[in-house]
Amino acid sequence: MINLNDILETINMIKEENLDIRTVTMGISLLDCASDDIDTLCTRVYDKITKTAERLVPVGEDIEKQYGIPIINKRVSVTPISMLGGKHSSDDYVKLAKTLDRAANTLGINFIGGFGALVEKGFTDNSRNLINAIPEALSSTNLVCSSVNVASTKAGINMDAIAMMGDIILKTAYLTKDNQSIGCAKLVVFANVPQDNPFMAGAFHGIGEAETVINVGVSGPGVVSSAIKRAGNCDLSALADIIKKTSFKITRMGQLVAHEASRRLNVPFGIVDLSLAPTPAVGDSVAYILENMGLEQCGAHGTVAALALLNDAVKKGGVMASSHVGGLSGAFIPVSEDAGMIAAAESGALSLDKLVSMTAVCSVGLDMIAIPGDTPADIICGIIADEISIGVANTKTTAVRLIPAYGKTAGESVSFGGLLGYAPIMEVNGKSCAEFIARGGRVPAPIHSLKN
């Protein structure tokens, strides 16, 4: 028998605390589309995506209605485009990006991910050409997302790739300058990238994945935040328990939707991603969770400790609720997509350096951070290298999504609207690391004994 309190609790979570399914993402392998001829490749890619994901949006909407739970995004991730066989130039890849954009428009999805390359150890000719195509690809499309994996704990760090990404990010910012440099909001640089992540902009369909797969990303910072508020003055053991229980419930809902989508679409279920993904909506903020735990404002000393507790408890609660957990799974701390983070950055409580230290204990990294448009490429590379090193040394995923807002300086802001939100431009340390970055080469993989 269904309990009245359970019913009211669920409805309250959805209505008042912004509980939703953040994304149902269908992963599609494009490996069998390979061709040396770019037009043939584009046709095959378009046909495969539009045919395979034909029912994704209507089925998503049906599930949404049946369970009364909003599914905010329906998305598609594809095999990293640089891995499609055949020899291709940068111009070819731009053409392919436009094809992906067209397919996404036809399907009615809101993003398509996978315009990317895995170069943690070195470049293939195709991956180099693809990376060079990123600025034009992102400025001439709306729905295509791009990611580049430049490091892993097993391979070390490809510093040549990081050096390249500094220029690519600046060029992308310039080419999308009329639109607040929004191109950079669709470009992520990764270390230890997960192959089954349903969240954009970093989603792609990994090489070890099945032909097609359904991955689901849940949300729910507002629910956790309210649960902590209701708990009042309890100690941290009790608080961790409350977070675990809440995370369990949120994830169970994700599991239900994933299972149902997989059944209706006749596509295997991949994973549920446990990430606490905030939105700019008031109340749906990871920063507010930390503040409800007892910080005056996010960014205060104690923030890393609170975040570490939160991240661990979310995983512990979520793991039991789903048969397969994967993706990024942790608390996201994007600045522009989180009302509390925006407020903390604006008041000066939250600095870029504090954000870097926070990423050592949570998913995913420096996310949606606007920096001055005149930041030199070497400093951007330095920021990336620092963040990527944290991931490599700690055997975790880290990522960088920076927006050097063209023509703007610290103190101003950029606004993208929708889920991408609004970001105050944060100050960066202006000291140069140009000589260090210019050395290039590879940082060797870290040792995994003598842990200190």
Binding site: I2, N3, D6, I11, Q66, Y67, K249
Partner: protein
């Protein structure tokens, strides 16, 4: 299979009658009703059996959502699975 219908809003004449009429029209059998009026607010939770629906379940969701809009009420119709999966191990 069951569904849960929740109705929240300002109290007015005939709310239960209107929801029950829609349920009867589409073949949803009402199994349980719990309702309370706090000050001027009306809150009702209704459990209905949907095995013998004569329209698709989502059709019932649409009908009740529309009824809610016409009467300035928040009416939600949700399949029982969401509650079972969230609150049962």
């Amino acid at each position: 299979m069951k569904a849960v219908i929740t109705v929240v809003g300002h109290d007015s004449m005939g709310i239960i009658a209107k929801v029950s009429t829609v349920c009867a029209e589409v073949g949803a059998n009402i199994e349980d009703i719990s309702q309370s009026v706090l000050k001027d607010y009306f809150a009702m939770v209704m459990v209905v059996d949907i095995d013998k629906l004569n329209i698709p379940f989502n059709g019932l969701v649409d009908k009740l959502t529309d009824l809610g809009k016409q009467n300035s009420l928040d009416i939600r119709t949700m399949h029982e699975d969401i509650f079972n999966s969230m609150h049962r191990i």
